[in-house]
């Protein structure tokens, strides 16, 4: 993993316990579980049919413009 940043995460005690337990059962650091949870959450949004429909429409309708903006 490249550069990382420390974050303070405030959770209610019950959720923090469950997070700790998941990490322990899976034998991974808590931060790894949090990262995966975030990635899964974002991925779920990306797979949402309505989100997909709007994104695909934007990507195809404005492909040339997005291509022109790729040089940033």
């Amino acid at each position: 993993m490249g550069e990382t940043k420390n974050m303070l995460l405030r959770l209610d005690p019950e959720l923090a316990d469950r997070l700790g337990m998941v990490a322990q059962v899976e034998g991974r650091p808590v931060s790894g579980v949090v990262r995966d949870a975030i990635a899964a959450y974002v991925e779920a949004r990306r797979r949402d049919p309505e989100f997909r429909r709007l994104v695909e429409s934007s990507l195809s309708r404005h492909a040339e413009l997005l291509g022109l903006l790729a040089d940033e």
Binding site: I38, A39, V42, R45, V55, R61, H62, L66, L69
Partner: protein, 454 residues
């Protein structure tokens, strides 16, 4: 469809960036981006909210790379949530975004630029805009207003039903026994309003009801039929029977089925059953004819619902939609004469109705003359094109009567839009001039309708 939130922006960033989502969240979960998203959710016209998002994300530049692409996608996504699309010239837009990045145009300026490029994705919007009666306008305005007061961006079928009940004057209110006539008129245009998918389906069903019943306008009664047809009868107030409501709506719409008509299906079945014993061939034929009639009605419905398909200026299908809407809107009889604005309007409408409509071939011929730029023929051709489309302006302007502007002012603005359309039309693109002009007319009228009045 939902309001744009931080997860949407992170998910959009993941579309244009190789950075991992947790890192993207970290980059985007900032007070600046948060304030921007809050601003985009405020009750602004969609193109203004999109412009604020576009400019804000370019200025903040939260990502190491790809900020302009993210800003564009986010603005398009926000507009898409309202059922709106944008036609953009790639090079001009690239230059504009570069200027924004260099500290050039601000959000209000970009909103002014963006406005004319925004169009409704769904022809249903156009159909509704042009065909809603006053009570339906009020009901939809109240539904959107209710959604906003409850901090929801999109109006639900329940909001629509409550809008119909509160509206208090149309067939829907009368059929459900609602007598709240104190409902205020809310100025709103469909372009400003967001509807849940279920609500949009209800509106499509209302349009279907109007077309199949042979009506020229979509009233609150049709919207109520749409709610019932869309499976929302459960939303009706306790003690109100859906079958009774449907009967009363049809009654108020002047279409109550007579006992003879109600029994038509049963009588037909009985006739076929009797024929089977005496003349089986005739029974089969009668069944076939009955089926053909049913198919005919279904096809009509399919045609109307097909308007909900993809719409763009290059979609030839839109010509048909515009023509069909014109047919829906044509006044039923001779226009009344009189004094005051109503009289002036009636005379104007009668005047412009006299100009003959142009065929596609005639249109092409006139544009060829304009292109040749030989005077006075070019000017005469331009005038003929404008005159033959003045009725289209009236039709579109009628959809904006709820804006509060006098109808003649709306028509005047629409005529300015029509005049702008003539020199900008490119016949080689393949779509009809009416299709192109509709956009310009609507845009000018919308701008006038949304402009603060002195």
């Amino acid at each position: 469809v939902r309001a744009l939130d931080l997860v949407d922006v992170v998910a959009l960033a993941a579309e244009v960036s190789d950075v991992e989502p947790p890192k993207l969240l970290e980059l985007l979960d900032t007070p600046e981006v948060g304030a921007l998203l809050a601003e985009a959710q405020a009750p602004l016209p969609p193109h203004e909210a999109a412009a604020a998002l576009l400019v804000g994300l370019v200025e903040i530049g939260p990502l190491p790379t790809g900020n302009r692409r993210l800003a564009l996608l986010a603005a398009l996504h926000l507009l898409g949530g309202y059922g709106l699309e944008v036609e953009l010239d790639p090079h001009a837009t690239r230059d504009l975004l570069a200027a924004v990045q260099a500290g050039g145009p601000d959000a209000p300026s970009v909103a002014i630029w963006l406005g004319p490029h925004v169009m409704a994705r769904d022809p249903l919007d156009c159909a509704l805009r042009d065909s809603l009666s006053t009570d339906a306008w009020r009901a939809i305005g109240l539904a959107v207003d209710r959604a906003r007061r409850h901090r929801r961006l999109l109006a639900s079928p329940a909001d629509l039903l409550l809008g119909l009940l509160r509206e208090g004057t149309g067939p829907a209110a009368l059929a459900t026994g609602a007598d709240d006539t104190t409902a205020e008129v809310v100025m709103i245009t469909p372009a400003d309003a967001g509807f849940e998918v279920g609500t949009r389906t209800v509106m499509a069903l209302a349009l279907r009801a109007a077309v199949t019943l042979g009506h020229r306008q979509i009233t609150g009664g049709h919207l109520l039929l749409g709610l019932l047809d869309g499976g929302h009868a459960g939303l009706l107030p306790a003690g109100v029977d859906a079958t009774d409501v449907r009967r009363r709506v049809l009654d108020l719409l002047g279409l109550a089925d007579s006992p003879e008509r109600t029994d038509l299906g049963a009588r037909l079945s009985e006739l076929i059953r009797r024929l089977r014993t005496t003349d089986p061939a005739a029974a089969v034929e009668l069944e076939e004819v009955t089926e053909l009639l049913r198919t005919g009605v279904d096809r009509t419905i399919e045609t109307v619902l097909a308007w909900r398909g993809e719409l763009s200026l290059t979609a030839l299908g839109q010509d048909e939609a515009v023509d069909s809407l014109l047919a829906l809107q044509r006044p039923p009889g001779p226009v009344p004469a009189g004094s005051g604005e109503a009289g002036l309007l009636a005379r104007y409408v009668a005047d412009v109705a006299r100009y003959p409509k142009l065929s596609r071939a005639e249109e092409a011929e006139l544009f060829a003359v304009i292109k040749a730029a030989v005077e006075p023929e070019a000017a005469l051709s331009e005038r003929r094109l404008i005159q033959s489309n003045l009725e289209l302006v009236v039709t579109i302007a009628r959809g904006y009567h709820a804006s509060g502007l006098p109808m003649l002012d709306l028509i005047q603005e629409g005529n300015l839009g029509l005049m702008q359309a003539v020199p900008r039309y490119d016949p080689t693109k393949g779509y009809r001039f009416t299709t192109f002009a509709t956009w310009w007319i609507r845009n000018y009228i919308q701008r006038a309708a949304g402009r603060p009045r002195a």
